[in-house]
């Protein structure tokens, strides 16, 4: 069974349909790309999966429900929300923090670090999900609390070293260089110990060298942490080199999906990007 399965979800802002009955599947251990022109709804997919936006209700107009309506008048009111199933359970109703604690972590298109906290505390604050001590325990500094804090510190420092940020651990996150902020955001997401990592344009604003390193890092992180990755990216070199499968979105609809080679030669994808030839 797929790790993440989005089944016919719609997201609407007022009358604007941002996502129109989107369906996608991500299998355990895959790196899946999400591409599409600007405004196609890629980030909206992330926001929907992480619970920031809830799928809207929509009415099925299939013949099946049409006939049901004739039998049961109440069936008229039957509306569907679609469903988002993660790790075998529906997460459609959950709050963003609950979804994070179920094991979906993300980064943001416009980096959202805790700028006035140290690099270390950025990562430590994301270890919160797995912290075990109660508030009275923390205030009284019980033995269990101190042990827990030592464990959090150790795993946070370890993560920073993996991402080459160990030497900056006491710097303010906001004072880091751009590329380092991007890496810190991924490190922070991993501190949640997710099963699925959502990366929103991780290579944006990076030069060719940094981009290559990032692509390697994503693959390495997938292997080392046993992750599954869903990545939005405009840089086709990154997408083509790391993704097992790709979904292409345009105007809130999936217009194509398949392997990098299939996507590269798909006429609909080419049309969406370059216009009719």
């Amino acid at each position: 069974m797929a790790l993440l399965e989005v089944d016919r979800c719609t997201v609407a802002f007022g009358g604007l349909i941002a996502l129109d009955e989107i369906s996608l599947k991500v299998e355990q251990g895959e790196i899946v790309g999400l591409i599409g022109p600007n405004g196609a709804g890629k980030t909206t997919v992330f926001n929907m999966i992480t619970g920031v936006y809830k799928p809207a209700k929509w009415r099925t107009m299939t013949s099946e429900t049409e006939s049901a309506r004739q039998v049961l008048p109440t069936a008229r009111k039957r509306v569907h929300y679609g469903d988002i199933v993660f790790d075998g359970k529906s997460i459609r109703h959950l709050q963003p923090y609950e979804i994070a604690s179920r094991g979906i972590a993300r980064t943001f298109q416009n980096i959202r670090l805790f700028n006035n906290l140290s690099v270390l505390d950025n990562v430590r604050s994301a270890c919160h999900v797995h912290a075990k001590t109660s508030i009275p325990g923390a205030i009284l500094r019980t033995e269990a609390y101190q042990k827990d804090e030592r464990r959090i510190l150790k795993s946070a420092v370890h993560l920073l070293h993996v991402f080459g940020l160990g030497k900056y651990k006491d710097e303010m996150a906001g004072s880091l260089a751009y590329g380092e902020q991007r890496r810190l955001e991924i490190a922070r997401a991993l501190a949640v110990e997710p099963k699925l990592l959502l990366l929103d344009e991780p290579a944006a604003g990076m030069n060719a060298q940094e981009t290559r390193e990032l692509a390697e890092l994503i693959k390495q992180v997938r292997d080392d942490f046993g992750l599954t990755v869903l990545v939005i990216e405009h840089d086709m070199r990154v997408i083509m080199s790391i993704c097992n499968r790709i979904y292409c979105l345009d105007y809130g609809e999936v217009i194509a999906h398949g392997t990098p080679d299939e996507i590269k030669n798909d006429p609909r994808v080419i049309e969406a990007y370059l216009g009719e030839g």
């Binding site: 963003p96 923090y97 805790f114 604050s125 919160h128 109660s134 019980t142 997401a189």
Partner: protein
């Protein structure tokens, strides 16, 4: 919950030592200092409790509350309710358990303060649950409304004392109690700030969306900060009522809330040390400026304005005064001085 034997013992010993020291200091300095300055000392201690607790909301979690005086008022009434109206029944209970005479007043006042904390905390929960769904300016307005509303209730409902407030409250507040409360709120803030729960609050202050994305239940933590701070404000109110010996609800107005906010901002939002220093400083400053007579408040405001221009992040920014911090600063200063000489 198991305390490490060492830390439990340390906690008890330190509390006892500090209580004894405060008691001795109170007895020693009360005479030479005179009633006026001794009262200022008490008032600055109460200001510390109020400012450090507000810092948990405004400084740690980055929310903006303008209703702290309202929670103090709830605590003042709750505690005075115990010491005024439940005094006899409590004493009967003391008779029953055979509590020695010397321990009766402290125990009674402790009960009153716990009642104050519980009442203010409960009101904090009731106010926080709906209003913490708001952000920024909207939250500030909502808490302002609460502060003024609760005061109006006490002023208008005659059963609660009406406009004349409550009188003949026993003077239970001693320097010892004030010092203990101040140490309590400082220790609690500090330990909270160092823990995963404190980091959750800081994360909310920095970026609420990102905080949720790393699994922090932002609403729960905002309410929690609000309730903890309200409970301590209740204790500050109890101490004030039992030092004033009366409650005049009109003096717990919006201006008092602003005063506490100014302490937090001036000390540096999020800095416990800053809140302590600013609370003490701003209690003494208007009194020390009495020499300026009618221009006193002009000087006071001018000083605040200059302060905010020169050091916008507050006295301490987000730093805390600790031995390590002092050592680091000293090292940096000496190395800079040495560097300049070279």
């Amino acid at each position: 919950m198991r305390l490490r034997a060492g830390s439990a013992v340390r906690l008890v010993v330190w509390t006892a030592v500090l209580a004894a020291a405060a008691m001795a200091a109170g007895a020693l300095i009360k005479g030479p200092l005179g009633g006026y300055y001794f009262r200022l000392l008490i008032l600055s201690g109460i200001a510390v409790v109020a400012a450090v607790s507000l810092n948990i909301i405004n400084g740690f979690s980055g929310q903006f509350s303008l209703g702290h005086a309202g929670f103090m008022l709830v605590g003042a009434y709750a505690s005075a309710g115990i010491t005024l109206f439940a005094h006899h029944s409590i004493n009967r209970a003391f008779d029953a358990v055979g509590l020695p005479a010397g321990a009766r007043t402290p125990v009674e006042f402790a009960i009153a303060m716990i009642a104050a904390a519980a009442a203010a905390g409960a009101v904090g929960l009731v106010v926080g649950l709906p209003s913490l769904r708001l952000r920024g300016d909207y939250l500030a307005i909502a808490t302002l409304g609460f502060g003024e509303g609760i005061r109006s209730i006490f002023v208008t409902v005659d059963a609660l004392g009406g406009a004349s407030g409550l009188h003949d409250i026993p003077e239970y507040t001693t320097l010892t109690w004030v010092v203990l409360a101040a140490i309590g709120v400082v220790m609690m803030s500090r330990n909270l700030a160092l823990s995963t729960h404190g980091r959750a609050l800081f994360a909310i202050r920095e970026d609420e969306t990102a905080a949720q994305a790393v699994g922090i239940n932002t609403f729960k933590y905002k309410v929690l900060a609000f309730v903890i701070a309200a409970a301590w404000a209740g204790i500050a109110g109890a101490l004030l009522a039992h030092s004033d010996k009366n409650i005049d609800p009109r003096s717990y107005s919006f201006m008092k809330s602003i005063e506490i906010v100014v302490m937090v901002v001036l000390g540096g939002m999020g800095s416990v040390t800053g809140a302590v220093i600013a609370a003490i400083g701003l209690t003494w400053l208007p009194e020390l400026l009495r020499a300026a007579a009618v221009y006193r408040m002009v000087f006071y405001s001018a000083l605040l304005i200059v302060m905010m221009i020169v050091r916008r992040q507050g006295l301490f920014g987000r730093a805390e005064l600790s031995i390590r911090w002092m050592a680091e600063t000293l090292r940096r200063m000496t190395s800079r001085a040495l560097g300049e000489r070279r």
